[in-house]
C-alpha cells in the first residue's frame, strides 16, 4: 500500500479516536514515570544499562524468572517458571526446557522454540561479528541451542555451567520474536521491538519518552496500567516538580540529599532499595608508589565506610562484607568484613617505604551518586594516615583511565547471584583491569576463578571462592566502598516495589493502583 499524507492523517485520526474510545472503556490508569534518561532503542541485549533495562523488562520475558520478591529486600534469587514451565539438567553440560504453550508475542505470533533458538544464535550473540558483542560475556559458556520440538529446547554449554539457569533468568536472556527481528534487523527491531512482556511498545522517541501499551493477552494476566509512559526529565529539580505538580506518578534517580524534603510531601512515598551493586575504588599498580600491595591495602584500610554511609547516604546504603553478598546463598562467606584500621594503614605504609609520592584520585562528579562527595571525604581520610592524595575531577571514563592517575572509581554489579556473576566478571581475565594491565599480579586470583568456573561441587566451589576473594583482597587492585541505594518517589496510590536491580517490574504481580 502506498503511504501518502492522506493515509497518515487518516491513520492518526483513527488512532486518536480509538485511543479516546479505549480510554473511556478501559478504566485502568496511565502510569507516567519521570526518568533521567530513556534509552534510544529497546533492543533488550543492546540496552544493558540501568536506563535501558528499566524499560525493556516490561516488554520482554525470560525463559526462567528470578523472583526478586522472594526476599524482603527485593533481592531474592529464587528461580521460578517464566516462558519455560520446567527445566531439567540432562547432563553436566545440557539443560532441557519445556516452553509454555499459548504464549503470544505482541505481533500475534505464537511463542515457539524457534524464537528461543533465534534469540541465542551465534549471529546475534556469539559469532565473530555478532550483532550484540556485549551479550557474549553473559553467555560465554554457551555452545548452542537446539529446538527438540516446537515447545522444547536444549541448551548446550562447552563446560559444566552451574549458573546457566541464572543466566537464562538475567541480563541478555530476554526472548525476541524471530520473524520481527529477521525482517526489521537489529536497528529496526530496536525501534519496533516485539516481545512477550506485559507491555508493548507504542512510541519510542529518543531523549523524550517511551510509551508502552498494556498487552492484555499477557500470559501472567492483564497488566494493571492501561499505558505506561517513561518520560525523560533530565533535571532532578524538574523531575521533583513534575511529581509535585501531578504531571508524573513516579520519579527515579533521586539523590539521598533530596529524600528528606520529598518525604514531607503529602501523598508522596519515597521507596528505596540497596542495589545489587557496589561502588569501588580501582588502584592502578603502575602508578608511582602503587606497585607495593601494602600501599594499596593501606588505601582501603584508611577508609571509614560506615561514616560515608551515615553522612552521605543517611544509612540507606550498606557496607557489604567485602566483594561478597548474602544473595549468593550458600556461596556467601559469613564472618568477613571490610575493616577501618587507620593505625594498620600507617604501619603498612611505613613497611612499604611509602615516601609521600602523590596519589591522584580521579572521579566523575555525577556519574555515580555521591561520588564527588565521597571522594572529597576519602582524600581527607587518606591524608590523615599520611597519604599524599590529590583529587582530580574528570568528565568521563576515557579521561579517568588516561595516564597520570593511581585511583579511579567504578561500580561492580552482581549480575548473577554468584561470585562468577560479580567479582569474576568485574575483575577476571576479561576485565578492563587485567587487559588494561592496571593489575598484573593476578595468578592466584585467576587460578581460583578458572577452577570455580569448572567446579560443580558446592563445598569445593565455596572453598575456591574463598581463595579467589582472599587473593583479591591481598593484592588489593581495588577496594569496595559500599552498596549504594536507589531512591524512587511515587504517589501513594501506586503500589509498586523496587528490586535490587534497576529493572522496573510492572508485571501484574508487582504493580497495582489504589
Amino acid at each position: 500500500m502506498k503511504f501518502t499524507r492522506r493515509t497518515a492523517l487518516v491513520s492518526a485520526a483513527v488512532l486518536a479516536v480509538g485511543d479516546r474510545a479505549l480510554a473511556q472503556t478501559d478504566g485502568r490508569p496511565v502510569l507516567t514515570i519521570g526518568v533521567a534518561q530513556v534509552p534510544p532503542t529497546l533492543e533488550p541485549a543492546r540496552e544493558l544499562s540501568n536506563v535501558g533495562t528499566r524499560v525493556t523488562y516490561s516488554v520482554f520475558d525470560t525463559l526462567i524468572r528470578r523472583d526478586f520478591l522472594s526476599s524482603p529486600d527485593g533481592g531474592g534469587s529464587k528461580l521460578v517458571p517464566g516462558l519455560a514451565t520446567e527445566w531439567t539438567r540432562v547432563g553436566p553440560k545440557e539443560l532441557v526446557l519445556r516452553l509454555r504453550r499459548g504464549v503470544k508475542f505482541h505481533n500475534g505470533d505464537e511463542f515457539t522454540a524457534d524464537d528461543v533458538v533465534y534469540t541465542f544464535t551465534s549471529q546475534r550473540m556469539f559469532g565473530a561479528d555478532a550483532l550484540l558483542p556485549e551479550a557474549r560475556s553473559y553467555f560465554a559458556t554457551l555452545e548452542g541451542v537446539d529446538a527438540l520440538d516446537p515447545h522444547t529446547v536444549r541448551f548446550r554449554t562447552r563446560a559444566p555451567d552451574v549458573l546457566l539457569e541464572h543466566r537464562l533468568a538475567s541480563w541478555c536472556g530476554w526472548i525476541v520474536n524471530k520473524r520481527a527481528y529477521e525482517s526489521l534487523g537489529i536497528d529496526g527491531f530496536g525501534r519496533a521491538p516485539v516481545g512477550t512482556g506485559p507491555y508493548r511498545a507504542r512510541e519510542i522517541l529518543p531523549d523524550q519518552r517511551i510509551v508502552l501499551d498494556a498487552f492484555d493477552d499477557y500470559w501472567m494476566g492483564k497488566p494493571a496500567a492501561r499505558r505506561v509512559v517513561f518520560r525523560e526529565i533530565p533535571e532532578l529539580a524538574s523531575r521533583v516538580a513534575a511529581l509535585q505538580a501531578g504531571d508524573v506518578d513516579m520519579i527515579t534517580n533521586i539523590p539521598p540529599d533530596q529524600v528528606p524534603q520529598l518525604r514531607k510531601r503529602e501523598g508522596i512515598d519515597v521507596r528505596s532499595v540497596v542495589l545489587a551493586n557496589v561502588h569501588v575504588l580501582t588502584f592502578d599498580e603502575r602508578g608511582a608508589g602503587m606497585a607495593d600491595k601494602r600501599v594499596r591495602r593501606a588505601l582501603g584500610l584508611a577508609i571509614d565506610r560506615r561514616l560515608l554511609v551515615e553522612t552521605l547516604w543517611d544509612n540507606a546504603a550498606s557496607v557489604p562484607p567485602g566483594h561478597n553478598y548474602p544473595e549468593y546463598g550458600d556461596m556467601f562467606l559469613a564472618g568477613r568484613q571490610l575493616r577501618y584500621a587507620p593505625d594498620e594503614a600507617r604501619r603498612l605504609l611505613k613497611e612499604a617505604g611509602y615516601g609521600g609520592e602523590k596519589i591522584v584520585y580521579r572521579t566523575m562528579p555525577n556519574y555515580y551518586t555521591n561520588a564527588l562527595k565521597a571522594a572529597q571525604v576519602i582524600v581527607e581520610m587518606w591524608k590523615a594516615v599520611g597519604i599524599n592524595a590529590e583529587l582530580q575531577i574528570v568528565e568521563n571514563f576515557t579521561q579517568m583511565r588516561a595516564a597520570g592517575a593511581q585511583v579511579g572509581n567504578n561500580s561492580n554489579s552482581t549480575r548473577l547471584p554468584d561470585p562468577l556473576g560479580a567479582l569474576w566478571i568485574s575483575w577476571g581475565p576479561g576485565s578492563f583491569f587485567q587487559t588494561g594491565k592496571t593489575w598484573t599480579s593476578t595468578q592466584a586470583f585467576n587460578d581460583a576463578g578458572r577452577a570455580l568456573e569448572a567446579e560443580t561441587d558446592p563445598a569445593r566451589r565455596k572453598a575456591l571462592f574463598t581463595a579467589m576473594l582472599d587473593a583479591w583482597e591481598d593484592e588489593a587492585p581495588g577496594t569496595v566502598l559500599y552498596q549504594p541505594a536507589e531512591f524512587y518517589a511515587a504517589r501513594k496510590r501506586v503500589k509498586w516495589r523496587p528490586y535490587t536491580f534497576y529493572f522496573m517490574d510492572l508485571q501484574p504481580d508487582n504493580l497495582r493502583f489504589e
Binding site: P40, R231, A237, A241, F397, T398, S411, G430
Partner: protein, 312 residues
C-alpha cells in the same frame, strides 16, 4: 561588491571548516564513545567490536579525512546510539527548537526594543530606572533558576501550566517566557545605550534647532543611527535560534536540538554532535552575513566602504 561578497563567502567557509575540525578533534580526544555508549563494565571485546564497527580503531587523520570527504558527499554520518542518519535526527528536532526560539525571539523584540527606546527617551525618570532594574535582573538571573521558579509558581503551586514536556502549546509557554525574558533584557539595555548615545549627537541637536518635530527627530534621525548595535545583538540571537535553548530545553524536558546536543556530547555521539555544530556554525555565519548586509542598508557610509567607493 562582488569582491566583498567573495571575501565574506571565503571567510564563512573557513569559519565552518574551523568549527567542524575543532569539534572533530576535541570530541575524539576527550572521550571514547565506546566506553560512554556501552557501559563502563562492558567487556573489552565488546568495546573493541564497537570501535571497529564505527571506524574508531583507525588513525585519527584517516577518520578526519573520511569525515571531511563524507561531508562533501552530503553524508554526515549515523548516530552511534540508535543507528539513524545524524542529519535526519537533527532535522527532526529543529522544528521543536524553533517552536521555542521563534516565539521567544519575537518576545525579546516586542519587549526589549520598545522598552530600551522608551527608557532612553525618559532618561532618569522612574520608567527608565524600572527598565534598568528589570533588564539587569532579567540578564543576571540564570535561565535555569528563572525556569524552575516559573515551574514552582505556575505548575506546582497554581497548577495552571504543565511542568515540562512538549505535548501541546501550553507546554511551550513557560520555556518561551524563560527564554524571552533574558533576551529582552539584553536587547533593552543595548537599545537604551545606543539611543542615549545618538540622542546626544550634534546632528540631533541640529535637527531640533531647525525646528524638526521631536517624534520626527526620533523616528528619522535617532532610531536608524541607534539601530547598528541593536541589529548586531539581534543578529547574534538569530544565529542561536537553532541551538540556543540548551539549558531551557533541559529544564523543561523539551525535545529540541539543544537537548540533543547535551545528550550527544555526554555520550560522544560524534556524528550527531558534529551535525548540530555544523548547523549552528552555518546559521551563525548566515546570520552574521545578513547583519553585515543590513549594516550597509541602515548606514550608507558602510555601504560605500564595502563597495570600495571613496567620499567625504
Amino acid at each position: 561588491m562582488m569582491r566583498y561578497l567573495a571575501i565574506r563567502g571565503l571567510r564563512a567557509i573557513l569559519t565552518i571548516a574551523f568549527v567542524v575540525t575543532f569539534a572533530f578533534f576535541i570530541l575524539r580526544l576527550s572521550g571514547d564513545p565506546a566506553l560512554l555508549i556501552l557501559s563502563p563494565e562492558a567487556p573489552p571485546e565488546a568495546v573493541e567490536a564497537f570501535r571497529k564497527s564505527w571506524g574508531l580503531d583507525r588513525p585519527l587523520w584517516e577518520q578526519y579525512l573520511r569525515y571531511f570527504v563524507a561531508i562533501f558527499e552530503g553524508n554526515l554520518g549515523r548516530s552511534m546510539r540508535d543507528g539513524r542518519p545524524a542529519l535526519d535526527l537533527v532535522m527532526d528536532r529543529v522544528p521543536a527548537t524553533l517552536m521555542l526560539t521563534l516565539p521567544a525571539f519575537a518576545l525579546k523584540l516586542l519587549i526589549g526594543v520598545p522598552a530600551g527606546i522608551f527608557a532612553a527617551l525618559r532618561r532618569n525618570s522612574f520608567v527608565d530606572r524600572l527598565v534598568i532594574v528589570c533588564s539587569v535582573a532579567g540578564h543576571s538571573v540564570p535561565s535555569f533558576v528563572l525556569g524552575l521558579v516559573l515551574v514552582l509558581l505556575f505548575a506546582v503551586n497554581l497548577n495552571w501550566l504543565p511542568s515540562g514536556g512538549a505535548d501541546n502549546w501550553k507546554h511551550a509557554i513557560l520555556p518561551v517566557v524563560t527564554l524571552g525574558t533574558a533576551g529582552a533584557a539584553i536587547i533593552a539595555r543595548f537599545t537604551r545605550s545606543a539611543m542615549l548615545e545618538v540622542l546626544g549627537q550634534p546632528y540631533v541637536r541640529a535637527a531640533l534647532a531647525k525646528g524638526v518635530p521631536w517624534p520626527s527627530v526620533v523616528w528619522r534621525h535617532a532610531l536608524p543611527n541607534a539601530a547598528i548595535p541593536t541589529v548586531t545583538i539581534i543578529g547574534f540571537m538569530v544565529g542561536t535560534l537553532i541551538a540556543g535553548a540548551v539549558v531551557v530545553e533541559s529544564v523543561f524536558s523539551w525535545p529540541g536540538v539543544g537537548r540533543m546536543l547535551v545528550v550527544g556530547v555526554a555520550n560522544r555521539d560524534l556524528a550527531v554532535v558534529q551535525c548540530v555544530l555544523l548547523l549552528v556554525a552555518m546559521c551563525m555565519v548566515a546570520s552574521n552575513f545578513t547583519v553585515d548586509l543590513l549594516y550597509g542598508w541602515i548606514d550608507p557610509r558602510l555601504r560605500a566602504w564595502a563597495t570600495g567607493a571613496s567620499g567625504h
